[in-house]
């Protein structure tokens, strides 16, 4: 029976004769699944040419190439990925890692061409029929990441623990935190162009990952001799262009820099940086001002054998870093750590010497082979509104300097600060602390022309000031200070509608019907500083070029028309420490060139 069945049973397959065939008549044009991994697409305006796609490609299928019409600028290398489909295996790792999310795959797979070179193209630039096709592979969801998108939080003291004193409130990364944060970096190097000192950012972050902090310190000092300082208060423009920041938090570059500097003890600096035996070349350079630009120039000149003397009119070095930036953000011992190392290289510093009055610039010219001046902006600017000449109206920078000098400054119970920049936040938060110490409560209001969204101060400064119970009330233009019986009663303001006109020039518009009155018995102006270059004599001044707005003109090496005089820092290009450092470094190179050429 079974045998018969085995003979007959296969014939049941004949039943298929009457069935429809299941084959697809014309497979060309069959659309692939929505997730299909076909040819690449790239949103060319979103892509920043970071090259991360190139790095992850295991087949070396990607080249980053310049593209006509795409400019190289801050945050965009101007390069775009070109794919070689002779190598691509359609794995889409490039898509999954793409920092900006610009790169995707289409679901097109049937495209053919007789020319093999057509299979090498720049997606998004070389137009293809599938460019607008919505379907195709995209980075998977949810919670699918190839690197950390969230920044490792920086430990901070709580507002209640910090607002009664000037102790540093950002406590710094631990080893584990630093390594975790350093791990997020994709090493594209886009940030380096934006950093005024062009620091080797991915390189020192890598040193953290490798736990080679000595190497990290060496990298820092190649372009920045003030890492403890910059690691705390740098304006970190680099973080604004960080490619990781396009889809997540940018790498905490500043805190990582601080971590390297913090972990290296100052006693070991000389050994690590191998700075023991520089041969003196017998040339002398005078430096006016011990702000970042002067210190940086001195450091890089000393490294190549110059005998440098810094002249500083105040009793301690650091310029605005010491006498402007408040201690709770930048403790004095950290300033000292950086500066002492520079001085240990044989840089001489003469305190309490005011060039122009104590010693003339001409004398320096005579005694030295070249002079660098980084005297900064120290003259407070006034709003010049009625009442602003009252004795209880102060400049922020003056107050900050006096605090740093240890002088007792006037602190009233109700204070208004005019200004919305970081300096205004610094004085506001300093005064809040002093009020807290003196009265046990805070009553300080900062008001600025700019509305909250365009306030020049860093967002975190505003947030932290509010945490410390200061009131920030932006978007008002001051009109007058009301004085009664020689006592300040307060500040009248009117609503500011816009600060800049269409062409982007400073030209504020007000709504005069919308006014407000801030009660106060003391007012602080913090709307910018001007330079004081009285020490440059008429004769020298004639050799120097000024533009229409009275700004000193220098060449690429910060050399003025008076060839022996180099000027940098806030006077030329501000307004932050890192620009000063970069200027000083560049000027040092210029001075070296100048001295070697002409003498």
């Amino acid at each position: 029976m079974g045998k018969i069945k085995d003979i007959l049973s296969p014939f049941t397959a004949w039943g298929n004769v009457v069935k429809e065939p299941v084959t697809i008549k014309n497979p060309i044009g069959r659309e692939a699944a929505p997730r299909y991994r076909g040819f690449h697409k790239n949103d060319i305006d979103t892509c920043i040419g970071c090259g991360t796609c190139e790095v992850i490609c295991e087949n070396e299928a990607i080249d980053l190439v310049p593209v006509d019409g795409i400019e190289t600028k801050d945050g965009d290398s101007g390069l775009r990925p070109m794919i070689d489909y002779g190598r691509c295996c359609w794995c889409a790792l490039c898509v999954d890692v793409c920092t900006t999310g610009s790169l995707t795959l289409s679901n097109e797979y049937t495209w053919v061409s007789e020319d093999p070179d057509e299979f090498r193209f720049i997606p998004g630039v070389d137009k293809k029929s599938w460019d607008d096709n919505e379907k195709g592979w995209k980075k998977p969801e949810p919670n699918y990441e190839f690197y950390g998108k969230k920044r490792v939080d920086m430990p901070e003291l709580h507002a209640e623990d910090r607002d009664k004193s000037f102790i540093e409130f950002v406590t710094g990364y631990s080893k584990q935190q630093a390594e975790e944060e350093a791990d997020r970096c994709v090493e594209c190097g886009i940030c380096t162009a934006t950093c005024p000192a062009h620091m080797g950012i991915p390189e020192y972050i890598k040193a953290i990952r490798n736990d080679d902090l000595e190497e990290g310190l060496r990298i820092l000092y190649e372009t920045n001799p003030l890492p403890e300082i910059c690691g705390r208060i740098c304006t970190h423009k680099c973080e604004e262009v960080c490619s990781v920041g396009h889809n997540g938090d940018p790498i905490s570059i500043r805190w990582l820099k601080r971590y390297i500097a913090d972990q290296n003890p100052s006693e070991k600096y000389k050994e690590i940086l191998n700075a023991g035996n520089v041969e003196n070349n017998g040339k002398k350079v005078a430096i006016i001002g011990s702000g970042p630009s002067g210190l940086s120039a001195a450091y890089y000149l000393a490294l190549i054998g110059y005998d440098c003397t810094i002249y500083e009119k105040l009793p301690a070095a650091g310029g605005m870093m010491r006498y402007g930036i408040p201690e709770y953000r930048l403790p004095y011992d950290q300033i000292d750590k950086d500066i002492d190392y520079i001085l240990s290289l044989g840089v001489d510093i003469k305190y309490n010497v005011n060039i122009g009055t104590d010693i003339t610039l001409d004398k320096l010219k005579k005694d030295y082979d070249a002079v660098f001046a980084g005297t900064g902006l120290h003259l407070g600017r006034s709003t010049r509104i009625p009442g602003s000449d009252h004795k209880n109206v102060f400049f922020a920078t003056d107050l900050l300097r006096e605090i740093s000098l240890g002088d007792e400054i006037q602190v009233s119970e109700k204070i208004v600060v005019i200004g919305g920049g970081n300096v205004a936040m610094d004085i506001t938060r300093s005064l809040a602390r002093l009020q807290n110490i003196k009265f046990g409560k805070v009553d300080v209001t900062a008001t600025s022309l700019e509305s909250e969204d365009i306030m020049p101060a860093d967002r975190e400064e505003v947030v932290e000031a509010r945490e410390e119970k200061a009131i920030i009330d932006p978007g008002w233009g001051p009109t007058s200070i009301e004085i009664e019986n020689d006592k300040i009663k307060g500040l009248h303001v009117q609503k500011c509608l816009s600060v800049f006109d269409e062409s982007g020039r400073f030209n504020p518009k007000f709504d005069e019907s919308n006014t407000k009155f801030f009660e106060a018995d003391m007012i602080v102006e913090s709307i910018g500083q001007g330079m004081d270059v009285e020490y440059i004599s008429k004769e020298i001044r004639d050799q120097i070029e000024f533009d229409q707005r009275g700004r000193i003109q220098v060449n690429d090496y910060f050399q003025t028309g008076a060839k022996w005089l180099f000027i940098g820092g806030d006077i030329i290009q501000g307004p932050d420490v890192i620009h000063g450092i970069a200027n000083g470094h560049k000027a040092a190179i210029g001075i070296d060139k100048f001295i070697n050429q002409d003498k």
């Binding site: 190439v65 310049p66 290398s77 190097g189 620091m199 080797g200």
Partner: protein, 186 residues
């Protein structure tokens, strides 16, 4: 598994005993005793399933690590016996008499790493490679990329740019920087 290892340890001197999982243990033994231990495990401890014979090149130590994977199908656990042999004139006692497939493994290791197993049938025959006159290709010092570059021709006209270097060239060609060129242009 613990008892077993104790038993073995009285007979053989084992080092570097590492539990990767409860049922997967790696251990190291001297070259002379390796095949002895493997045979013992097979004949007396029920490790009848031979999983894999493999080699790891620790070029920096001048050693090859031979790895014998044994599985106990009843108890469902694995012992991985490792032994270090010199990289120079690498040679190991053949185990082809223990399991049939070992002949193939030893042929492969001979070809890919240059390890000799005297007496193993056909050990000198080509396994995968034919007419190969370079060093055994699985050795660490054999550079696949260089080999393929020398042997095959690259596609014409490919050139890439490192973003950081390119930006320096475009935006600040004369300024000092510590940015290193991390990828070499091709």
């Amino acid at each position: 598994m613990k008892d077993l290892l104790e038993r073995l340890n009285t007979k053989y001197s084992l080092t570097d005993i590492e539990y990767q999982r409860d049922n997967l243990v790696f251990l190291t033994i001297r070259k002379e005793n390796t095949i002895d231990l493997v045979t013992h495990l097979r004949d007396y401890e029920g490790f009848t399933h031979f999983v894999l014979l493999s080699c790891v090149d620790w070029i920096e130590d001048g050693k090859f690590q031979l790895t014998y994977f044994l599985n106990q199908p009843e108890r469902k656990y694995d012992i991985v016996v490792r032994t270090m042999i010199d990289r120079d004139n690498a040679e190991m006692v053949s185990a082809h008499h223990l399991w049939r497939q070992i002949t193939t493994y030893q042929r492969e290791l001979r070809e890919m790493y240059g390890i000799n197993f005297p007496g193993s049938p056909g050990v000198d025959e080509n396994f995968i490679l034919e007419g190969w006159d370079e060093i055994p290709p699985m050795r660490r010092e054999f550079d696949t990329k260089k080999y393929s570059e020398d042997t095959f021709f690259p596609r014409e006209g490919r050139k890439t740019h490192d973003p950081a270097s390119y930006m320096k060239e475009k935006l600040y060609p004369t300024e000092p920087t510590t940015a290193k060129v991390n990828k070499t242009d091709e």
